[in-house]
């Protein structure tokens, strides 16, 4: 555990990618063999099951530190991170333990089944035999929120360097759900282990938002242009008469999509299709929200299958007859995809049509009105492009239509977490309903650090009331809120729910009287759904 804590501290102390990779490589070179696979698992974001309630952790800490619980809570709001708050408030270390990372994780697994008194004894024992840095890491393992400035991509790069393999091979091996208790470095990464994992998807190729004029991309004839649909990006894999449906978030969602079950019989073995899974009825897409309620269910009732029938709109073929096609040009992969869909027709598997534009101006015009065509913009893909790994610039671009916007009044503020701890960065905005302000959106992002500081200072001086970590403030400032979609929602006071709300700018030029109204929002829904 000492080495792992040292790694976390080293990574935390630098903002430079190369130094982080260096620290990871050094860790892999020095750590106990049995620990390494657990470190990989934790660092790419797998969480151990939470063995205790966080409310218990708070109580135990307050008790040990001889602090009233309210003071613990106040301090926690300031830190903005429970694991860190606990580590900082515990009394000084008393002795030293010798547990490894693996043993520590095993201890946490064991805790789950113990009565509360036993849990308390073991956790306090661990705390009191660790220093602040180690307590922090231990608490992070317990609370299961281990985002420590190491991205998956970084772990892949470090492993590739340490194991002397290609990053793409490592990325592939790390896909999907795997259990560190059943694997080791050998079974995960040795070249022999690559063969028998037929359920694994390929790492997804992701596009950046186009921030340039499309004219700079060159001749339009070099590009394949498709609608960008609003659904769940996924891969359908058929191998050995079995089907696996993976989401881009690397969740295995096969059971959620009974619509695709029959494909395991009809598609040839060794087929991997990339596409967008969306709700579809009467020849056109339905809004994303329709699918969202269905995905959240454990068991999908027939009602949902009928209300929100899903299809995959396929846009790429990554594997055909067991052969990896990713290095072939897109144009060729698409031809093979078309042939495949033609010879194996299925009502739940559609082809993403390449659209016919004669100029970038035409493309631009279509993008502006994309919502009228039930899409959120366009995908621009170079016809000669291979299927790359991860998010890359150059060959694939997404070009989303401009978001909708509404001007709202800042009504509540809450302090943020992590980098934004102790700063008021989470805001609630309101629109007018008669002469009342009703909250309609929460937004966390979109302001610059400088604007955040200015606003934070103003909020502290203009607080009306405090409710725990939340403060209500004097209605004074108007912000433009951008979002991707809007739907009626009986659960919200304003009667609407927004998709991806964020702040697009601070409207210092506007008084609160000039903010939008609830009826403006309802009108937006009508326009969108017409």
């Amino acid at each position: 555990m000492k080495e792992f804590t040292k790694l976390v501290t080293a990574v935390d102390q630098t903002t430079k990618t190369n130094q982080k990779i260096q620290a990871l490589v050094e860790y892999f070179a020095q750590a106990k063999e049995e620990d390494k696979i657990f470190a990989v698992s934790i660092l790419i974001g797998n969480k151990p099951k939470r063995p205790v309630k966080t409310s218990e952790l708070r109580e135990w800490t307050a008790e040990l530190a001889d602090l009233p619980l309210w003071l613990f809570e106040e301090s926690y709001y300031t830190v903005g991170d429970l694991a860190e708050a606990i580590a900082l408030m515990l009394p000084p270390q008393q002795n030293e333990h010798q547990l490894t990372l693996k043993e520590t994780l095993e201890l946490l697994v064991r805790l789950s089944d113990l009565p509360s008194v036993e849990k308390k004894k073991l956790i306090i024992g661990y705390w009191m035999s660790s220093d602040t840095a180690e307590r922090f890491v231990f608490n992070k393992l317990i609370t299961g929120n281990f985002r420590m400035g190491v991205s998956r991509q970084l772990v892949i790069k470090a492993l590739a360097k340490y194991l002397k393999q290609e990053p793409t091979a490592i990325a592939h091996q790390l896909m999907g759900k795997w259990n560190p208790y059943e694997e080791n470095m050998e079974s995960m990464f040795s070249t022999e282990s690559h063969l028998d994992k037929s359920y694994l998807p390929y790492p997804f190729f992701l596009a950046y938002q186009l921030d340039d004029q499309p004219a700079n991309l060159g001749a339009i004839t070099d590009w394949c242009i498709e609608k960008k649909l609003d659904g769940i990006r996924g891969q359908i894999i058929v191998r050995n008469k079995e089907i696996f449906v993976w989401s881009r978030g690397e969740e295995l969602l096969t059971d959620k999509f009974p619509e695709f079950t029959s494909l395991q019989q009809t598609l040839p073995s060794g087929t991997v299709i990339d596409g967008e899974i969306i709700p579809w009825k009467d020849g056109k897409p339905l809004p994303f929200q329709v699918m969202q309620t269905r995905i959240g269910r454990k068991n999908i009732a027939p009602k949902y299958l009928k209300e929100a029938p899903l299809v995959m709109v396929a846009f790429d073929l990554l594997e055909r007859q067991g052969e990896d096609l990713r290095q072939k040009p897109l144009e060729e992969r698409r031809d093979l995809l078309k042939q495949l869909l033609a010879s194996h027709p299925d009502e739940n598997l559609l082809l993403s049509e390449a659209m016919d534009f004669s100029s970038w101006e035409e493309v631009s015009k279509f993008r502006e009105n994309a919502r009228e065509f039930q899409c959120e913009g366009l995908m621009l893909k170079r016809k000669t492009s291979p299927y790359e790994t991860g998010r890359r610039r150059g060959n694939w671009w997404k070009w989303k239509t401009d978001p909708m916007t509404v001007d709202g009044v800042l009504l509540y503020a809450q302090s943020g977490h992590g980098r934004r701890a102790n700063l008021f960065t989470d805001y609630t905005f309101a629109v007018w309903d008669g002469d009342l302000l009703v909250p309609f959106a929460k937004a966390y992002s979109g302001l610059t650090d400088k604007e955040i500081n200015v606003l934070d200072n103003w909020i502290k001086r203009n607080t009306l009331e405090k409710f725990g970590p939340v403060r209500s403030v004097k209605p004074e400032f108007v912000f433009e809120i951008a979002f991707e979609g809007i739907n009626a929602s009986p659960r919200h006071k304003s009667g609407v729910a927004l998709r991806f709300p964020r702040i697009s700018r601070w409207r210092k030029d506007k008084s609160i009287q000039a903010a939008n109204t609830k009826s403006d929002l309802l009108q937006l829904i009508d326009v969108q759904n017409s």
């Binding site: 630098t14 400035g149 980098r419 500081n453």
Partner: protein
Amino acid sequence: MLTFTDKGIYCKQADVYIDPWKPVKFAIITHGHSDHARSGMKHYLCHKETEPILRLRLGKDISTQSLEYNQTLNKNGVTISLHPAGHILGSAQIRLEYKGEIWVVSGDYKLMPDGLSSPFEAVKCHHFITESTFGLPIYRFPTAESVYGSINNWWQENASEGYNSMLIAYSLGKSQSILHHLDQGIGNIFLHGAVANVNNTYNEHGYNFPGVWVSPDMNRKSIKGAMIVAPNSALSTSWSSKFPLLRKAVCSGWMQLRGARRRSAVDRGFVLSDHCDWNQLNEAVLATGAENIYVTHGYQATYAKWLSERYHLNAVEVKTQFEPAINDMD
């Protein structure tokens, strides 16, 4: 005897203000930091070592008088004296006594010795005014001595890899206590103008702080393995980016929190403060024996509630002109 007015803390009997933020006739200044020592006062009273700093920052022609620690001054029957606050060189707590009633305004202070300023002395009183910048139990600082050690190790490590090191610290106070403890055997020391100005003033009064001012025409390309000390304002300007191969660190009590460390976007954060941490605050308050505690500047509501609840003191929150922003380099 003391009241909190929109001009600052006021003593009616002596007709004096302490650290006022608007122009008044007679101002007693606890120390030279700009949120305590403001311009525009007819007359200033401060500790002897603060006087040259006031002249440096507020102008040569200001009217001042100074006292040694524990020396007394009588004004309209009020006995006024200054006592070490341990915050920076010359920082003072202000003690006022009138007809047996004693008040102490502590200004900014700390109990942990920094190895340079006169260590804090607890002054018995009935009414104690305390700041609460770090008045939460998450703030428990390592000893300054151990932090100086870490700083020298960091500098040594950087120098051995051919890097320069830059420490970001408040130009008045923290810069000097760091400079006083840097291991000059490791390499050369360079100073930002703001730090150099303060050093010059102190050096004229018997101190000897090391370091060479980085003048605009200096060739910085040849600087290697050196330590550069600069205030926070230098961080965002091109001044700091002109040094070759540079690693930066911020010295501040706020560096206790990971969020603040990451926000500062430098290579290291050293937890080094010239304020009290949680334990020091509690120790100081109890040591005064005061029954009435006025909590300002920081987590005043929380800390006042804690003092009332835990120690049954008559502790109240005093709203000051502003809440400190986290990026103040305390």
